[in-house]
Amino acid sequence: MNPKENHVDRSDPFRLQPLPPRVIYGEGTAAKPLPHAATTRRGYVPSITGDYGVAGRLEYRISSIAGLSHRITRQVNQDAFAVSWGQASGLHIAVADGLGGSGVFSHLVAHTAVESVCLLLEQCDGEVSDEDMSAAVEETNGLLQRLVQHLGEETLTTLVVATMRQVADGFDVLCQRVGDSTAAVLASLEPPTWTELFPRESGPMADTSTNSALPCQEVATESFKRHLPAGSAFFLMTDGLAVPIFELSQSCRDGLGSLWASPPDIHNFMNQLDFGRRGEHDDRTVAGVWFNAI
């Protein structure tokens, strides 16, 4: 596909365009009709969700899809995302990955985590500091502890949250995480180049992963603060996307890098996240933020 066809026509942002066929990176079975996923026993969660918006000169796209494994086993998407905006505090986006092996209601814990932390950051009076963000994550952890106690099961979630503020030549990002959800920058080079901003904890086995999650007794966050120049894009994502991009697939890394060098329209963005690849059937969530010159 011509990358230009991928990007939003701002003269009519609600224009519906025919979606291109599902992209296959590397080997993969042909796209086939996806089975229904949601089961009301665990509450209804849409199999695919998306959001988009503009905050000053920051433009974002977010999408989350239920993995095929959850659809087949009739479970819901256990990833979650939330966005908030404070005039003083900036744009806040959080992404979480409920850990399904740990409980039936991990999607509720993931949703609560992202909504709580975004709400708390939105309420900051001015620029969000590292301490402010740590306090928001701590308070969210306390809320999750009470929720898990109420649910009566040991349910866990990862959390990665970022606050973005536009500055003259780009935007400043403050980011914290607990667990293996991650953040990355896509540099505006030829070809566009991904750099993961947290150290990759690549487990030796496919079913070995994060050592930390919420809620927990003592919250240990990893954090960074970074200035991103105009032209670069910033991403938060769960391991369902991070693992193929950063560990397994050059074609996925290059393909999505090319498609996401500038903001796609939301329909294409959701479609592009729903790529096919052999053995990749985890839930996927990604939030992309671009500094643009509308």
Binding site: Y25, G26, E27, G28, T29, K32, G67, L68, S69, I72, T73, Q78, D97, G98, L99, G100, G101, S102, G103, S106, L156, T158, G179, P204, M205, A206, D207, T208, S209, T210, N211, S212, A213, T238, D239, G240, V243, E247, L248, S249, Q250, S251, R277, R278, G279, E280, H281, D282, D283
Partner: protein, 276 residues
Amino acid sequence: MSGPCVAVDGALSKRVIEMTSENSNERYRVRPWYLCIDRSGSMGPKKGQKESESPIAQVNRDLQTLLVDEFHKDDDVREVIRLGVMSFADEARVDVPLCDATHLPKMPELEANGHTSYSAVFRLAREVIQKDYESTTDKWFRPVFALVTDGRPWPETRSAWEPTLADLRSEDWLIHPIFAVFGFGNADESLLESLLGMKSSDRSLCSAPGHNIAFLASKEQTPSLEVHNILRNFQKSVLNSAAARGEVRVEETLGVRILGGDQGDALPDHRSTGQS
């Protein structure tokens, strides 16, 4: 993905390895299934029984059905599962190196003779799994070691095979496999349970209960039907684990009962805090 080329049919092994060589820029998450089949003399025809009615003949027929029905046709299985086949009697050998069975034209024909040595197959399995892991660029879900047996080790004693079992199941070994044991014929229920660490004299084998599972075929049926039921159960286990990706799901089926492990959902939770 390639495995050690020690199959009886060398040409077949070579072709499988060539056809499954991988692009180093593209790695995949896969679940290795090692199917280890008892081909000791007891698997052969009994007195007055036709060769075609013997357990080993049924095994050979069912293996071919398994290949065609699941590995060649089912997308979910083809995407995730990698299959290796070993067999054992007095000694153990690799019949099909770990491979994408989509590329495998036919299953090996096994012949029954000799005694039953568990130590030989446990020792070989540990070596093979380690070599396969080192030689692949793929990212593995925890491998599954599926043992199909109709009897008990003989003439070797428990003291001979138990240390090799402990090595294979040791949690200190990064890639220790999930155990799925399928018994029929004269398979001893307590012996099968001890393979899972449920009744072992060696308490070190008793860790991580529920991550492994044993099935026993009903003895009210003919040996041929017992084999068929056991391999059908193996087939369903493979299918379920492929559908569930990160999980190994197993379930009881007609003519087969579960001896131990988590019924319906033996999920190895290798994340220290959970599994997404």
